[in-house]
Symmetry: C2
Subunit: 340 residues, 2 copies
Amino acid sequence: MEQQTMVRVAVDAMGGDNAPAAVVEGAVLAVCEDSRVHAVLVGKEDIIREELKKYTYDKERISVVDAGEVITNDEAPVMAIRRKKDSSIVKAMNLVKNNEADAFVSAGSTGAILVGAQLIIGRLPGVERPPLAPLIPTETGVALLIDCGANVDARPSHLVQFARMGSVYMEHVLGVRNPRVAIVNIGAEEEKGNTLVKGTFPLLKNCNEINFTGSIEARDIPSGAADVIVCEAFVGNVILKLYEGLASTLLSTVKKGMMSTFRSKVGALLVKPALKKTLKSMDTAEYGGAPMLGLKGLVVKVHGSSEKAEMKNAILQCIAFKEQNISEKIRTSIEVNENK
Amino acid sequence: MEQQTMVRVAVDAMGGDNAPAAVVEGAVLAVCEDSRVHAVLVGKEDIIREELKKYTYDKERISVVDAGEVITNDEAPVMAIRRKKDSSIVKAMNLVKNNEADAFVSAGSTGAILVGAQLIIGRLPGVERPPLAPLIPTETGVALLIDCGANVDARPSHLVQFARMGSVYMEHVLGVRNPRVAIVNIGAEEEKGNTLVKGTFPLLKNCNEINFTGSIEARDIPSGAADVIVCEAFVGNVILKLYEGLASTLLSTVKKGMMSTFRSKVGALLVKPALKKTLKSMDTAEYGGAPMLGLKGLVVKVHGSSEKAEMKNAILQCIAFKEQNISEKIRTSIEVNENK
């Protein structure tokens, strides 16, 4: 029998609003759902062990690495990574660096994760900036929004690399054949846009290895007009956050409307089960975390407010990344296409 | 008896997907709804007169100015404005310039309107860039999103002027006392952001004449966390378009969910009337058009797909602008605050 891959995922047990309880439970759920997962919970050992006692699971596939410190959201990222050597983030990233883990999943400080990933795990050769690339739900499935990280004021060459990395991810992790790559713009025509977009557009047109379909207006993102949505981090962050905010406002408006009359309240009871199921498809939490691409290992950032389901999905997401050897494919794509 | 203000609105009868029918009907509705409105329909006279025959209205308050040419969306704006002297846009803007009209409303080419407004009507003294500032619906009312125009790659001084102009508009046209002004950012802390935002933040903090509340993340825009939302045009355009796209996708998802089972279909019938009413409050079309501020006259850009209701609202919007003397208030605000 062929030997099964074992995917070792270092999990930041102390990161996020619901840590450690939701993180530990998410790891247990992931291990129970897929036999390829080995979770390494990194954080305050005694607390983690206390949480683990609540569950039944394969003891061989969850281990604990003690880390006495925690990096909080208010700390300056660079300083925190440099000083808190015994923090869960730094210790877990060192596991990835030393090849004792394949991936790192955290709901902790985005800043510290982005900085730590570059300083500790390191970029793949040729990669200028590692982007943070969450999946966002669309009417027809999901799209990869690349970049939503902290590296603002990008250059055209960065965006071209984002397009290449995003293509590899969507094709090999999500199984989208020949993914459509588009650049966020304020009009469909080539001459539209700001300096960055105008500088990037012709470069993307010249990339034969990706399926570049041109500009995409923000209006067409939710309907699923592209698979890889390229933009610089400030714009990506605005898109991602507005997605969250607007979805929550619109749904609360729908609810308010349904509860406004006696007649509509009765109708709401009948509509609810079907509606819940459909709306789940537009919930960002369903799609795991945001991978940070272009590193010598996988880093997945999950939302700070994540519950066990999101943690579980983010851990399971690491399987395809390792099995498909995404880091190696990204390294090759950058190397081959930039040295030709 | 005090004499009533007469607000003369030049209307581009040829602009937009539903011109001239929806434009003419919108103008008739505006004239019938408010006795202060005088509409000047600019475009092909014979066609306009033919449309007007369908309605009953005060003939004294709708006039027609013939314009033989039409500027389309595909034309290069600068060239179109320079060459098509007999177009509805150029002729209507000349009415504003020559003080034969107080305002100009159009659903035509955004590019041509933005260019024409600057070349023909002209900026107020001291105004560096006239922003396009649509009202977007929020959970608690509306917010002014400034700038969504075509002037990308803005400088900090532009954004400071947007904040001042937006404050004047929200206070005097919408009646919001001491409007909260926030800058779109990717985090709430002062040190976050791109070069533009970091450069603008301290300048806004020093503006004592506005109620600057700091950064706003895109997530908090729909809930109504600020009244004036300052950003450069590329980001503003992304926010506005994503608002439209996401609202339409989410509502179609809600509908799909409601129609998915027999039980939910029955519920949908009961829910529908109440839901329709509530959702109307989140429909951008309800709030008229986007004013272009900082000009020697008012220009209002309405959506290309506008129907009669949007046209009517955009025309009525011009009343408060004139009665409150907004151009003069903006001129004073820029002059007083930049020369102190």
